[in-house]
Each structure stands twice: as C-alpha cells, then as structure tokens.
C-alpha cells in the first residue's frame, strides 16, 4: 500500500499526487515508469513519474483523468492508499552532453519532462522547452518549466495565450529559422509525439519519444506493449519506453491503443453508475 501525501488538481482533468514509495524514489532515473493498480479489482497500467524526492521517499505523478483507472486514482484523497505501485520499470533516458536540446511536452507529458530537464542541465546541456496546451485554462507548470529551462516557449491551440498553435508548429519554425538542435525529446499523447517527430524529421534532428502503450505486467512477460520500431517488434516495457520517433510505426501504436475502446466505455459507465458522488467531487 502506498500513501498519497499530497493531491492537487492542476487544471481541469489533470491531477498531481505525491505518493510515499521510498524504495522506488531511491532508485528511479529519468525516463523510467511505474505500473499502478489502484484497488483490488483494478487493472495494471503504466504511468511516468513527474519528479521524486529521494530523501523524503516521495514520487510525483501527474495524470490525465481519462478512463476507469485514472478516475479511481482521481477519487483518492490525501491519506488514501494506492494498492500497488511496481517500479521503477523500463530503461532510463540516455543523459549525456548533447549541446542544444529541445524538450517538447503537452498534457501529462509535462510531468516526465521535469526530471528530464533537470538531468540534461546537470550534464551542461542548453535546454529550450516548449509546452503545448489546448487553451490557456489547460496550461500548467509554466513557472516550474520556465525556472528549470534556459528558455521556455508556449504554444496554445486556440490562441488564448502565448503563441497560437502546437508544439510541432514551434519545432518546425524553430528549426526552419536555423536554430541548432542536437536532440529533441517529446513527451505527450501519441498523436502529439507523432506530430513532433514529423516536424523534426526533415531536419534530421534525432528525436526521442516516450511511449505508453497498454501494458499488463510491465516486466517483459506478456508482450501486450509491443510496438514496431524501424520495422522490428519491440516490447516497450523492457526495450523502451523511449524510442527513435522517426522509426516508430505511429499508426500501429495508435490503433493498438484503441483495442479496448468499447470495453473501456462499458467499464467507465459501470464505475460511474456506482460512484456518481465521487465524480461530483473530482
């Protein structure tokens, strides 16, 4: 059992929790993930970590409330417990001195970008970050990302703040303007990472993406998380979760992620019916 010690709704539908998990906090490195199971009937699902405090034994998770599992997670309060958290899983990000690094993030992807930027700057890289959000009301951690990065850019889909557009628009313009980028990291939903990879490809900028397909055990045993990278089948949980964005078969990834859409709707409806009071509290 893992205790939630702090909980904050960042923007509508995105929640930040701090959880007591000292053994994970002691070992985790940027790029790794955990597998959660919220309660005794819950499914196992992967989550990136949005930071950690090794001394206090705390891990941070910023998650998007989407299906039954994340809704269950969202309904927990400070002092409540998550039944299982296994990790750290997957391979850490290769952190080296690259020179100029661009970090693109959106939605729940802003979480894992925070420890990533810290580690990259620790190696002496210049880090330029770009956040995307649908509208200003969905933008979070602007201050944190500005403080950590050498430079921060904001793109907003509906133009209600910052520059109108998305992270991929910024990447394209930034590279077209002749800015030198030695490596690009993208964190967000598969569609966002696909668009960022498309934007950087013509410029030959090595692009690292972090995939979160459906998983079950998360330890290489089931093969549910298989993806195709450069024409080869890889297991995201043990071979990834980071891959070359120019080599990922995005169409396959997105289609596999939609395998259970109808079942997910049934599950969510059934949970909602029994937990209407909790939904009102979200």
């Amino acid at each position: 059992m893992y205790k939630i010690v702090e909980r904050k709704v960042l923007v509508p539908n995105i929640i930040h929790i701090k959880v007591e998990a000292p053994e994970i906090a002691r070992k985790v490195k940027p790029g790794q993930f955990v597998i959660l199971r919220v309660d005794e009937v819950g499914e196992r699902f992967p989550m990136s970590l949005a930071d950690w405090d090794r001394g206090k034994g705390i891990i941070d998770i910023a998650f998007y409330v989407l299906g039954t599992s994340t809704r269950k997670l969202a309904s927990l309060r400070e002092g409540d417990y998550i039944t299982n958290i296994a990790g750290p899983l997957g391979n850490p990000t290769e952190i080296e001195y690259y020179g100029n690094v661009l970090c693109a993030c959106g939605c729940f992807g802003c979480g894992p970008t925070i420890p990533l930027i810290k580690a990259l700057r620790g190696k002496g890289n210049k880090v330029v970050s770009v956040i995307e959000a649908r509208s200003k009301s969905f933008l979070f951690w602007e201050d944190r990302l500005r403080e950590l990065s050498d430079e921060l850019h904001i793109t907003i889909g509906d133009g209600s703040y910052g520059k109108k557009g998305w992270a991929n628009n910024f990447i394209e313009e930034y590279l077209k303007a002749g800015n030198k980028v030695d490596r690009l990291f993208a964190h967000g939903c598969p569609f966002m990472m696909m668009e960022c990879s498309k934007a950087s490809k013509p410029f030959g900028v090595k692009t690292v993406v972090s995939l979160t397909p459906i998983m079950v055990d998360g330890t290489g045993m089931c093969g549910c998380c298989r993806v195709s990278v450069g024409g080869k089948t890889k297991f995201t949980c043990v071979d990834g979760p980071e891959f070359d964005g120019h080599e990922v078969d995005w169409d396959l990834l997105i289609k596999r992620q939609r395998t259970y859409l109808d079942k997910e709707t049934i599950s969510l409806e059934s949970w909602d019916r029994n937990n209407w009071h909790r939904i009102m509290e979200l």
Binding site: I24, T68, V216, T219, G220, T233
Partner: protein, 470 residues
C-alpha cells in the same frame, strides 16, 4: 506364507463437470474424490517392497507411506507424510504430469492401471484444507538461526525453496514482481484447472512458516541481486520464472486481437478479465479464436477462450496429435469441450481490417518427414495448399525466452547460449558466490513440479553451504 492378494485393476474414476456445462464456466473441472473413493483407490496399492513410484517423483514424496495412511483412514498422518516432502500438495495433485512420473513407474502401470497417486495427493491436501485445526497442530516450530535468505519470485520454485529454508530456521524474504504470490500458478494456469484459493491456501501455509513476501518488487530494477547480498542477506535464490513470449514472426502479428498466450492467460487468470466489468481488466475473444501450438499452455488458452464465450476455438498445430507435447488428459478435456484441432497446419500471415484488428489468418498444410533433433517427425510445408479462415482473435502459444532483467543487472552471472542462467542441476548453484537459481530461468520452460524440485534442491544446498561457512 501369506496368500498372494489379487490385484485390483479398476482405477476409481474422478468425478468431473460435464463437458457441455463446464465449457461455460470457470469452476474446477475435476471435482476430487470423496473419502470412500479415496480409500477405495488407496486400497488398490499393494505396498511394494521396491516402490517404483517414489523414484518417479521429483521431490521424493513417500508415496506408499501416505497411501497406507489413507488405507487406514488416518488422514492427519497422510498429511504429515506428504507435507514432510512436499510443501504444495494441493497444487501438485492437480497439475503434475503424474502419467510420466510417479504413476508411470508405479508397478501396477505395467498392468495398465497405476494407482491414481495424483488424485490421492489432491484428496489429502483438500482434506487438510477442510480441517484447519489439524494443520494448526502440525505447524512446525521454526527457531530462527539468524541467517537471512532472499528468494526472487513466488512461483513453484520460489515457494518451495522458501518453505524448505524456513523449516530449517532461516529468515526468508520473497521478492515478488506482481501484486499476488504464486507466479505461473496465478497468472498462467486457469482457475478451472487450479483454483486460485487453493494456490493462496498453499501460499498462506508458506507464510505461516514465517516467510515474508514483498510485492511489487521487480528485482534488477528496484534492487539488484548484488544489492540484496550487500544488504545483509546471506544467499539469494533466483526463480523469476518465464520471460518474453515467442511469436510466430509472420506478417500481421501486431494487429489488435493477437495475444501471446502469456497475455491472454494473465488477463484472464491473474486480472480476472472473465469477471469484467466487475474487474477492470478487459479481454476480447469474439466468435472465432485460433490458438497456435500444441503444449499445455495451448490447451489452457483454448479452453479459456471457450469459457470467455467464443463459439469456435481452433488449435492450429504443425505436427500431428502424437507429437503434441500437451498432457493427454488436458488434450482430451479440450476435445470433449469442443475445441477443434487443425493438425498438420501452419499459419502464413494474419489479415486485418481498417481498424487494425485481426480478421483472418492464412494457413497452409504440412506433412511429416524424417525425425528431427527432437526425435519427432519434422513437419514439411505442402505447396499450393493455402487457405484462409476468418478469426476474431489469435493466440500464439509457442513458449517463452528467458527474461533479460536479472541476467543483465547482476554482475558475474554466467549465462547459457539460450540466455538462461548457468546453473548446476544437482545444487542450483550459479557461477556467482551466494547466488542460486531454479525454475524456468535455469532450465527454460518446464513443469511446475520440476521447478519445485529445483527449489527443494537449492534449499538443501543453501543450507549445506551456510552450515559449512559458519
């Protein structure tokens, strides 16, 4: 001289759920003997002077002795004898391949009617579960010797090793990657063959010996074997179990609706997808399911698919029935339940729809040629025999490769060319001081009982090693 007793060659059959009923539920197929049936079957045992059965048992259970106790109606004594050699009899009685072990070497096997040792073992284990007050009385009083052992994995090898060492006074901690103990007994073998409350009953017994189980601990990630040794453990037994599932390596294999048998069984058994949406984990089977392979896991997956509501389930196997590695009993159970065997058939490619879901598989026929290195006749493709069948779900059940997490994070562990950990079979020792290994990680995919045998031998060797050191 006593008159020679007439041999009774009528094995007492085990009551089973009817095929037409059981294919629609996850309840246990074999219902177990009643006391009368158990005594009747036990009474057929002639108590040989040179019992063959004992030699056929990988953990050397005193088989004639526990059967004698059943004959006498002394069940507590039968429990005591059985448990002194086997910590998990409720599991072994159900899933051991007795027909190639104790029952094969039973002297009555020559007459075609070996004693049903497995069913009797199950009876004794179930009797004990129904009489917890006896179990309480028989619990060993373990006095700690102050030495600490780490066991990685709580499958059959890990549980057996942990129980063996705990009985000798060691403080044992099991590190389990998943959220429940039991390993393949929980995620792999289906409820209808091995009910999960039976597994948890055996796990509780191991815990009652003082063994601590830490869940969510993926060794190699949260801590390495080296760190465990540095943190005050005197020895480590590695039993992390099966690794990455193998696929067919044919086009279309990543379409939605294609599950490795590991994934299909894990969703069904461990995550209880058959109780969706009461349990959150979904599974999809559709109307027509094709399972590829010929082993026990193939049988398990196909029988789960039936119970999850599939109308037609095919087993596609490239050789013929005689070459199938599955236990005959499991194959017959599958056939009785209506699984359709497409033998001498192999897949060429999967076809998908616009949503990326599998909708059909192209197959072709095979014929058998000369025996290959496995001694079985080699299947050869018959050209021009391609045909397509519509399917909603495909399940390759082709075995597994070793999981790389532990080998790649433990310094100084020698590996075999198959990627398993090089292990001395008699003792479980690896090339690294203080580290033992057993189960699938040492041998590649094998049986529950062979993993238990490895756990038992490693426990004995760890004890001998640590006794020698002090």
């Amino acid at each position: 001289m006593a008159e020679k007793k007439k041999l009774n060659l009528n094995r007492v059959p085990i009551p089973k759920q009817e095929p037409g009923i059981r294919r629609k539920n996850f309840n246990e197929v074999a219902l177990g003997y009643t006391e009368e049936q158990a005594i009747e079957e036990a009474s057929r045992c002639i108590q040989c002077k040179k019992p063959g059965c004992k030699e056929g048992c990988p953990v050397n259970v005193d088989i004639p002795e526990f059967i004698k106790a059943i004959q006498d109606g002394d069940m507590p004594e039968a429990v005591r004898i059985l448990k002194s050699k086997n910590s998990l009899p409720g599991i072994c009685g159900r899933v051991c391949p007795q027909e190639i072990q104790c029952e094969m070497t039973c002297n009555l096997a020559k007459k075609g009617a070996p004693i049903a040792i497995g069913r009797l073992e199950r009876y004794v284990a179930d009797w004990e579960r129904a009489h917890p007050e006896i179990a309480e009385r028989q619990k060993d009083n373990c006095i700690s010797n102050g030495k600490r052992i780490a066991v990685v994995g709580s499958g059959p090898a890990g549980l057996t090793c942990a129980a063996g060492l705990a009985k000798l006074g060691y403080e044992v901690t099991i590190f389990e990657a998943l959220h429940v103990a039991g390993g393949v007994l929980m995620y792999g073998i289906p409820e209808f063959r091995l009910p999960k409350h039976i597994v948890q009953g055996e796990v509780d017994y191991v815990k009652s010996l003082g063994v601590e189980i830490k869940f969510d601990h993926v060794i190699g990630k949260i801590a390495t074997a080296d760190e465990i040794l540095e943190n005050g453990y005197d020895a480590v037994f590695l039993a992390p179990g099966a690794g990455a599932p193998m696929f067919l390596n044919i086009p279309g294999e990543n379409l939605s609706g294609i599950y490795s048998a590991n994934e299909f069984l894990t969703r069904t058994n461990l995550m209880k997808a058959y109780l969706f949406p009461e349990y959150d984990t979904p599974i999809k089977v559709g109307k027509r399911v094709a399972v590829f392979g010929g082993g026990n896991v193939t049988m398990d997956a196909s029988r789960c698919a039936l119970r999850l509501g599939a109308g037609e389930v095919y087993i596609i196997y490239r050789r013929s029935k005689v070459e199938m590695p599955a236990r005959r009993e499991e194959r017959e159970n599958a056939e009785e339940e209506g699984v359709i065997f497409k033998l001498l058939t192999n897949p060429k490619r999967f076809l998908g729809d616009e949503q990326g879901r599998v909708k059909a598989v192209e197959l072709y026929e095979m014929e058998l040629g000369e025996p290959d290195e496995s001694g079985r006749r080699r299947p050869i493709p018959k050209p021009g025999t391609e045909f397509i069948i519509d399917i909603d779900t495909a399940i390759p059940a082709l075995g597994t490769r070793p999981n790389p997490i532990i080998p790649s994070t433990t310094k100084g562990l020698e590996l075999t060319r198959w990627g398993t950990i090089k292990t001395d079979e008699a003792t479980g020792r690896t090339s690294k001081e203080g580290v033992w290994c057993g189960g699938d990680m040492a041998t590649g995919a094998a049986t529950v009982i062979s993993a238990m045998g490895a756990g038992k031998r490693a426990a004995a060797d760890i004890d001998a090693y640590l006794q020698g050191k002090s």
